[in-house]
């Protein structure tokens, strides 16, 4: 856990009064959320509660209908410049990896740096190799994603995001699609990212061991609302709301 986090400066991410609808369905209800530089937040909650949607709104994969989202002082609007400015600071890791299957692992990593940041191929490749070493699979650089195990694919996806040198990383259930024996290798990489790099992270996960170890702040969502949020220790030891307690009981039984 980071206690080197005075929380005095301007927050990195602010959501205030955010509402979102899918057609008639009110999927996010008055979401308020702040994340400071270096903070690690874990979001949990039952399926369909809107966890993914929160994260996807911050990197503008979804649009919100009302309220405001600021990332590093920039408000997210339809303006393409604000969207690309924010995307440049945000790395996103998906449950389904979403690697580019037609490209080698190395090309998956260098595509963004070369095309979006105008880096030379050789610089991009050495950057990519640095991050492949970080996630401990440099020897897979020339394979296709389809030739790798799920755990390896997810580590490639993390490295691909890191190649854009983001200021914050979002993980949407990064281990839910993995076989149990591969979960640890991915979580290890994430723990390292938090502890050694002090990366600002929002992680949607049901891995409560990981949450206890890494998270500064816990958020519990249900039916599109943030039901409970607070520092990790208090959240696990005495959750205030009944719904949150029930959820934790359920999930910790396993």
């Amino acid at each position: 856990m980071s206690d080197s986090n005075p929380h005095t400066e301007q927050p990195l991410i602010t959501m205030s009064g955010v509402n979102k609808y899918f057609g008639d369905f009110h999927v996010l209800k008055n979401i308020d959320l702040t994340v400071h530089t270096g903070e690690r937040m874990v979001i949990c909650g039952p399926s369909g509660s809107g966890k993914s949607t929160v994260v996807r709104c911050i990197c503008r994969l979804e649009t919100h209908e009302s309220g405001s989202i600021h990332v590093d002082g920039i408000e997210l609007t339809d303006d393409p410049d604000s969207i690309s400015a924010i995307r440049a600071e945000v790395g996103m890791v998906f449950q389904q990896f979403n690697l580019f299957p037609h490209l080698s692992v190395l090309d998956n990593l260098t595509l963004g740096p070369i095309k979006a940041r105008g880096m030379s191929r050789s610089d991009a490749e050495s950057l990519a190799m640095t991050y492949l070493e970080r996630v401990r699979i440099p020897e897979q650089a020339n394979k296709r994603p389809g030739q790798l195990s799920g755990g390896q694919q997810q580590r490639v996806a993390i490295a691909r995001s890191l190649c854009m040198e983001p200021r914050m990383m979002f993980f949407d259930e990064p281990t839910s699609a993995l076989d149990p024996e591969m979960i640890a290798e991915v979580l290890d990489v994430m723990v390292e990212l938090a502890e050694e790099d002090g990366m600002t992270m929002i992680v949607v996960t049901h891995e409560m061991g990981f949450a206890r170890k890494v998270a500064d702040t816990m958020v519990f969502m249900d039916h599109g609302e943030i039901v409970e949020t607070g520092p990790t220790a208090g959240f696990f030891d005495n959750p205030r709301s009944a719904r949150c307690r029930e959820f934790l009981d359920q999930i910790l039984k396993h």
């Binding site: 580019f100 037609h102 389809g146």
Partner: protein, 267 residues
Amino acid sequence: MITSAIIGSRRHRLVGLLVIMAVMATLSGCGAGGNWGWYVVDPTNPSGWVNLKFLAGGFASTILLSIIAAISSITIGLLIALPGLSERRGLRLINRVYVEVVRAIPLLPMLFWVFYGLPQIFKALGLDITINPFWGAVITLALSDSAFTAEIFRAGIQSIGRGQSEAAQTVGLNYLQTMRYVILPQAIRRILPPLANQFIYIVKMSAFASVIGMQELTRRANELVVTEYRPLEIYTVLILEYLVLVLIISQGVRWLERKMGADERQR
């Protein structure tokens, strides 16, 4: 024979050719007693050889016409498919209207309209543009086929999961880069077979160019029939000419598919 060029080691291909040759042999065998005149296209007969060379002289323009029309059709098709995938209704409407209208126009009326009608529009606009038979045929084939390629592209792009373009966006690619480097390379592999079908369709439909006077395979056959008055023999050769073209294309596409399939299997 020209056909020997396409005999692969593939057995089914060989069988196909044997059947064709058997049919030809039967037909020419009939010539002995009947009303046949295979001499007009007999390569061992001097005037037959000249006629064959005249007929085969149409290959170049049929091939050139088809290739230019196919490339244009793919380009137009892609440009029409993209608005069809937009979230904006207005853009989707452009796609729908184009596809529905163009798809409904039969090829021959479209050819007449382009070749005889379009120059009038140009003149009314004060433009000094003439349309020769070649470009008239290219424009018609490209437009008419583009409605189909547009639908093929739309389906192909839609078949690539949303996660791919989301991942591309989060590594900073803009819309065009996402299409160019992530979506289209994957979609093309999937739509190669239907695109190949469309190419074959273009090759066959290019025969219509003969009616506006373009000197391609069919036009030459027609002209030869007028002078030789041997429709069965000459049109048989004509059909074989198209068959050869189409078989070469299928072979090429199969080769491409195998090449891309090898990529695919590494996934």
